[in-house]
């Protein structure tokens, strides 16, 4: 509960700051929020706050926390801090002066929703979390009031979100009808003794409902339009934090609610979805010229890789998923940081505008190159290790089908290498006249990029991060579900 309370305190402080401090002080709000988030991230990291040993529950077992859950929240916090740092320049722009506070308040509310999603052990609480992590995002997507695309994106987002919530709710109602309970624990035992066709449909609907937020194919179609239309800071938040949190919540639901029917029902559903997601995401990414759209499809296919950690259905898969999300946060935010910096300075977002960038802005190009290498999984950058561990986790599951799945994922990494390198090629090899002139990015943007670059370089080589996650998951209460 400590992390939720800390987050609420931050939210209230930001709210009070926004409401009561005068116009002159408003410009300090972004830095204020970033610092507060940084502080609670540090608090979360200190071992005393994570709690020790097994699960602790609250609200009659609706809410639970454990070291693993604390760790995933910490990972999200780290990502949020970077997003906040990167967004300072944008929120302090002329355009945003009236809506600065809203961005931060909405962001913190969605983060709170994600916390609830991760920690809930009851479907009602889970649903509240899911909704409060979804609906405010629509408002955030629409923050760029003067741009038509921003509105369009928001409309598309909210319509799809509502639709997916309806589907999800329908799935839930089936589950309730079958088992008579919303508690994960109760459903788990009821399901394991009582298989029915309705249950299969319910699981399909639950996967579809959560798959919307993860943008799994075919529930992904909103992604590209929304990512492109939304302000870059919101896009990076959507693609990284929202996705990472949902991936973990998805894993919790699939193991702790439907774990008993893993091999009979949802292993194959997820199997198909992973292949579709990775492949279709890649195939679309190949032909994108807009950088944000390009990263949208790249993040779709990355979601497919993350799902390998769920289908692995073992402790190593869980650790690999958390590690993957962490590395993905750093890699993707490095890419979005560069895109945001260039957009803020020149307004350019097309890949064609990146031609010859290394000549005019060598440092930004370097960050972008590292991000691309890490996303593509080239050693020795962190992305290589995260892919390696998530593949290893999946293979440890042991069935031949999973070997085939990993093979398909590996072939897809080659395809993804092609389009990631297209960006590098445009920046470094293209002989054309540079489009973007030399500029100096804001200090906040540079700070964000330094952090992400450090993460990309160090997270893989310093094996202690992964070892820590592996050790934490090895003793977690989740273990019991994998064995049983």
């Amino acid at each position: 509960m400590k992390q939720e309370i800390a987050l609420l305190v931050v939210f209230l402080l930001v709210f009070l700051y926004d409401t009561f401090l005068g116009k002159g002080a408003q410009k300090g709000l972004p830095a204020f929020t970033a610092i507060l988030m940084f502080v609670i991230t540090l608090l979360g990291l200190c071992p005393h706050c994570c709690g020790v040993g097994g699960e602790q529950t609250a609200f009659a077992g609706m809410y639970a926390t454990s070291p693993v859950i604390a760790a995933i929240k910490n990972i999200l916090n780290v990502g949020v801090v970077i997003v906040l740092i990167q967004s300072i320049k944008w929120t302090n722009s002329e355009n945003m002066s009236m809506r600065r506070g809203e961005f931060y308040e909405l962001l913190l509310v969605t983060l709170f929703g994600m916390y609830l999603m991760i920690s809930s052990r009851h479907f009602l609480l889970f649903f509240i979390g899911l909704e409060s992590a979804s609906l405010p995002l629509a408002a955030m997507v629409a923050l760029d009031k003067n741009r038509y695309e921003s509105h369009e994106a928001a409309v598309k987002y909210i319509l799809t979100a509502v639709f997916s919530s309806a589907i999800f709710m329908m799935g839930l109602s089936f589950v309730y009808g079958l088992t008579g309970s919303f508690y994960f624990q109760n459903i788990y035992f009821a399901v394991s003794s009582n298989m029915s066709i309705l249950l299969v449909l319910a699981i399909a609907f639950v996967i579809a409902g959560i798959g919307f937020k993860l943008s799994l194919v075919p529930f992904h179609l909103w992604t590209a339009d929304v990512y492109q239309g939304a302000p870059t800071s919101v896009t990076s938040y959507l693609s990284v934090i929202s996705k990472g949190a949902t991936a973990f919540a998805f894993l919790v639901v699939m193991t702790q609610v439907f774990g008993a029917v893993y091999s009979r029902v949802w292993e194959w559903m997820l199997y198909a979805l992973i292949i579709l997601t990775i492949t279709v995401g890649n195939l679309f990414a190949i032909r994108q010229r807009n950088m944000k759209r390009f990263l949208a499809f790249s993040s779709i296919s990355q979601a497919g890789y993350i799902m390998l950690g769920v289908i692995a259905f073992n402790a190593m898969g869980l650790a690999a998923l958390m590690y993957y999300v962490l590395v993905y946060i750093f890699s993707n935010l490095a890419a979005f940081g560069v895109i945001g910096a260039i957009e803020n300075a020149t307004g350019k977002v097309s890949m064609d505008d990146y031609r010859g960038l290394s000549k005019t802005n060598p440092k930004l190009s370097f960050c972008m190159m590292l991000a691309m290498f890490s996303l593509a999984g080239i050693p020795p950058f962190a992305g290589f290790f995260s892919k390696f561990f998530i593949f290893t986790g999946a293979i440890n599951q042991g069935s031949v089908a999973i070997y085939v799945l990993v093979l398909i994922a590996l072939i897809n990494t080659i395809i993804s290498l092609y389009y990631y390198l297209l960006v590098v090629k445009a920046m470094y090899i293209s002989e054309d006249e540079p489009v973007v002139a030399t500029f100096k990015s804001a200090a906040s943007e540079r700070l964000g990029l330094w952090i992400t670059v450090a993460g990309i370089i160090c997270l893989g080589i310093a094996s202690c991060v992964y070892t820590y996650l592996l050790d934490t998951t090895a003793v977690s209460a989740m273990q019991a579900y994998f064995i049983g």
């Binding site: 409309v155 699981i203 194959w268």
Partner: protein, 669 residues
């Protein structure tokens, strides 16, 4: 023993490499060189301190009550853990040979660092282009070589083995604008890499059967009550042999698997130590700057092969056939290289072939060493010769460098009669020649005498053969000496400066190394370095008859050289005309290079590579291309999905969810 000093010994050169490599261009040449030299100087001090502690402090972790020297694992850090058993560690093992090597490497490296401050300039004292890079590479090499000798497991040794190979490549090709230097560096890299293939297979075979990479687990037993302390024990090697003998497949193609593993590991050593037929890279490696030749291709890296065999010596003792291979390869190489050295014109090539020949001496000495002969005298003699040879050969190379620097040519025909104009170089070079020829009391006499003595114990044929080579050694070295410093009066070509001694940075190392070469023979090596750490009094094994015969042979060689080359005369030309075939074959190094050219170009490239290239271009690339085309087509085909219309999105969403459930239900029913 404190852990900081060993870590510093490795960390300082590595740091200097990164520091000079990254920031060298931003500082002046002089500062970069000075920093590199100071860094190496501090490593020198630390290494001397460590070696002194090891040999003379008498701590119970270094020496037991009986006076046997022990192995002490200073630290051993897990680096990569793949599985429970497959662990790769990085550590620091202190034992007689690694302590000795610390001294050798840091001494020579420091001398070379200092010497290069003077050498890497042109005649006007202007520093050469890439001077900072040169020092960065020297630091990288020193780091790699130190890491190699202190490796407590064979895998770490392999890693650093490749690192020294890489830094050797970088330094041979230092003058990267010179085509001959580039091709020499490539040749060195490829030939040694080829040998390392055998090394790697050997390592994998050995560790597959034994389940360990650690040297101490292969050759030693732990000492009770002291963590990290082990003692060499033949029993461990015997139990390793039993592991092989009782395994599922104890033999392979007629030889035992242990023999195979050991011979393959020795193959790696043959590559690095330039044993025939893998010697062809070393003469070409002389394209590198002369200080590099002194450091890498005379004193340190090229003896890595000898060091490797010495490291695994108890295991080699288990397989007589492997030992015989080592002896035969060494004996043939020693003779071959000595013959070739007799007719070369380029002074660095003479020294290169002499190096090959002398390393072969060390190999033979290991090959003939047995515990039953003089308590394994051959092992001690080999390490002793390694030590003395490093000093006097580095001296000769640095002397040659001074000559080349003064004359501007590698050719002795451009030198002649330099004894008066370059007195310091002359005297030190003479000391080097006397040492390598084996004249009492210079260091080479003692070590070579012990090698011959252990050969004599092993087999009279080997003894006679190696004595002949020792005579040849004296002959070719003094031929070189007379042709450089005597023969006829020096004539300075027009427009050149008269040759003179070089600045102190270059002469000081010569003087120091010459002094070491004078006295190193009196070091009681038998007390310090023996195969099982058990000290013995060398004088008890000293054989006056062997000593006087080898002295006699050396004097004969020198006398012949004096007759032929002291003053300009017709004798050498007459000799050449009398034995034309022998001269041509020696001059062309027995056509080894041509043989390799034939094998690689005609057979490998023509018959194997060409069909493979075709297969690669058409089949593999073709598959990949069609894969790419297919991907593009698929991408084009599914484009309409992303229509931008929200109605369609929701429709597909619903279809997807229903299909997901529907198909699963159908499968379950």
């Amino acid at each position: 023993m404190a852990i900081t000093i060993p870590i510093l010994i490795l960390a300082i050169p590595l740091f200097m490499f990164f520091f000079l490599g990254l920031f060298g261009m931003k500082m002046s040449h002089k500062l970069a060189g000075t920093l590199g030299t100071l860094g190496m100087g501090s490593v020198l001090v630390l290494s001397y301190f460590t070696a002194f502690q090891y040999f003379f402090s008498g701590l119970d972790i270094f020496v037991n009550e009986a006076g046997d020297r022990l192995q002490y694992l200073v630290f051993d850090q897990t680096w990569l853990q793949f599985t429970e058993k497959l662990v790769i560690k990085l550590g620091f093992l202190l034992d007689p040979i690694s302590a000795m090597m610390l001294v050798v490497i840091t001494t020579i490296s420091f001398m070379v660092h200092l010497y290069s401050m003077g050498y890497m300039r042109d005649h006007h004292g202007v520093f050469e282009h890439g001077f900072q890079r040169f020092y960065a590479f020297l630091s990288l090499f020193s780091f790699s070589m130190l890491g190699l000798v202190v490796a407590p497991n064979i895998f770490q040794m392999y890693i650093f083995w490749e690192l020294v190979g890489a830094s050797s490549y970088l330094l041979i090709g230092f003058y990267y604008k010179k085509p001959s230097a580039v091709s020499a560096s490539k040749k060195a890299f490829i030939v040694t890499r080829f040998a390392d293939l055998g090394f790697l297979i050997g390592i994998l075979t050995l560790s597959w059967y034994t389940g360990t990479f650690n040297f101490t687990e292969l050759t030693s037993v732990p000492v009770e009550g002291l963590a990290g302390v082990t003692q060499v024990n033949i029993g461990t090697a015997e139990s390793i042999r039993n592991i092989f003998a009782t395994s599922a497949a104890p033999t392979f193609m007629g030889a035992s698997v242990l023999t195979w593993a050991l011979v393959l590991i020795f193959m790696g050593g043959m590559g690095k130590s330039a044993m025939m037929p893998l010697h062809i890279w070393l003469p070409d490696a002389m394209e590198g700057p002369t200080p590099v030749s002194a450091l890498i291709h005379a004193a340190t890296m090229v003896v890595a092969g000898v060091y490797l065999v010495a490291r695994l010596f108890p295991l080699y003792l288990m397989e007589d056939s492997a030992m015989i291979i080592i002896t035969v390869v060494g004996a043939l190489t020693a003779f071959y290289a000595a013959m070739v050295a007799c007719v070369q014109v380029d002074i660095k090539r003479v020294l290169a072939f002499s190096t090959i020949s002398q390393i072969a001496f060390m190999m033979v000495s290991l090959g003939v060493a047995r515990p039953e002969y003089h308590e394994g005298l051959g092992y001690m003699a080999s390490m002793f010769h390694l030590f003395t040879h490093a000093m006097f050969k580095a001296l000769l190379f640095l002397g040659a460098g001074a000559l080349i620097h003064a004359i501007g040519s590698n050719d002795y025909t451009a030198m002649h009669g330099l004894r008066k104009s370059m007195p310091i170089t002359h005297i030190t070079f003479l000391i080097g020649c006397l040492a390598i020829a084996g004249i009492i009391p210079f260091s080479g006499f003692f070590s070579k005498d012990e090698i011959l003595s252990s050969c004599g114990q092993y087999d009279i044929l080997v003894y006679l053969w190696m004595s002949l080579v020792a005579g040849l050694t004296a002959f070719y070295m003094f031929r070189l000496y007379y042709l450089i410093f005597w023969w006829k009066e020096h004539v300075t070509p027009e427009g050149h400066h008269a040759p003179h001694d070089q600045p102190w940075t270059m002469t000081l190392p010569l003087v120091i190394l010459a002094a070491i070469s004078c006295v190193a023979g009196f070091i009681p090596f038998g007390n310090l370095v023996t195969w099982n750490g058990e000290p013995y009094d060398f004088m008890a094994h000293f054989d006056w008859s062997v000593a006087s015969i080898s002295l006699l042979v050396a004097i004969c060689g020198i006398a012949l050289a004096t007759v032929m080359y002291r003053k300009e005369n017709e004798l050498p030309a007459k000799m050449r005309r009398a034995l034309p075939a022998l001269w041509t074959w020696c001059y062309h190094r027995f056509y080894w290079d041509e043989l390799y050219q034939f094998i690689t170009h005609k057979i490998i490239f023509g018959l194997i590579s060409k069909p493979l290239a075709w297969f690669d271009r058409h089949i593999i690339d073709g598959t990949m291309d069609s894969f790419a085309t297919l991907t593009n087509k698929a991408s084009e085909a599914i484009k309409p999905l992303q229509s931008g219309q929200i109605q369609m999105y929701v429709f597909y969403y619903l279809i997807g969810a229903l299909l997901l459930g529907g198909i699963t239900i159908l499968c379950l029913i």
